[in-house]
């Protein structure tokens, strides 16, 4: 049964710093998604990672996937306040292709 675990669940950091959010999953997943959710808003798709070694970047966010380690990371470079949000990763359960979400990482960037 696919389980998706994120850490940390809460993160408060200063502007200008770098940090990484980790997403571990328990069994094989064909792909890995990252979403952003602002308070009171819906989810916005950030990245879809399809294969081992995949790396995608947009602005100050970079996501990578290591299928052998069953690990995806979301790296934040030189954080700015606008990146404050909750970030979810999600994997795909192989037996029925259902998307399983992690609990989310609530990121608060202090100005």
């Amino acid at each position: 049964e696919l389980k998706v675990e994120q850490n940390p669940l809460f993160l408060s950091m200063q502007e200008g710093k770098n940090y990484t959010i980790y997403c571990n999953y328990s069994t094989t997943s064909d792909r890995l998604y990252w979403y952003r959710q602002d308070p009171g808003k819906s989810l916005e798709s950030l990245f879809v990672l399809l294969s081992n070694g995949a790396v995608k970047q947009e602005g100050r966010l970079m996501a990578s996937l290591d299928t052998k380690a069953r690990l995806s990371t979301l790296h934040i470079t030189a954080a700015v306040h606008d990146l404050s949000a909750t970030y979810f990763c999600a994997g795909v359960r192989n037996r029925d292709d259902k998307i399983i979400f992690g609990k989310g990482t609530r990121l608060h960037i202090l100005p």
């Binding site: 064909d30 792909r31 998604y33 979403y35 808003k41 819906s42 989810l43 916005e44 798709s45 879809v48 979810f88 999600a90 795909v92 029925d96 292709d97 259902k98 998307i99 399983i100 979400f101 992690g102 609990k103 989310g104």
Partner: protein, 117 residues
């Protein structure tokens, strides 16, 4: 173009009443999904539709929950005899989909915030 829309955006109801939540997917998207998000929690899958059939209802929490979809269009999620634990944000998403329905990128609506008093 228009994204996924949901109505109402907020619903306050008394315990024991029935509620209907509506989702309008992106035009042309054949797959439609319902999720529940409790305060401070991740997303909990409820049900998905491929066209107007629902191959997977395993996420519905109880028989008080049901959902319908008209063709490849609007879907309604109905909760009968609401309980306080039903309070949550109910999110709808749609995707282009093919036989591997969950493999397509999902586009989420703004959600309906349900409060049961």
């Amino acid at each position: 173009g228009a994204g996924v829309s949901q109505s109402p955006s907020n619903k306050v109801t008394e315990k024991g009443k029935d509620v209907e939540l509506r989702c309008d997917p992106i035009s042309g998207h054949t797959a439609l999904y319902w999720y529940r998000q409790r305060l401070g929690q991740g997303l909990e899958f409820l049900i998905y539709f491929q066209g107007n059939s629902a191959p997977d209802k395993s996420g519905l929490p109880s028989d008080r929950f049901s959902a319908e979809r008209t063709g490849e269009s609007v879907s309604t999620l109905t909760i009968q005899r609401t309980q306080q634990e039903d309070s949550a944000v109910y999110l709808c998403a749609s995707s282009l989909a093919f036989w591997g329905a969950f493999l397509d990128e999902q586009y989420f609506g703004p959600g309906t915030r349900l409060t049961v008093t």
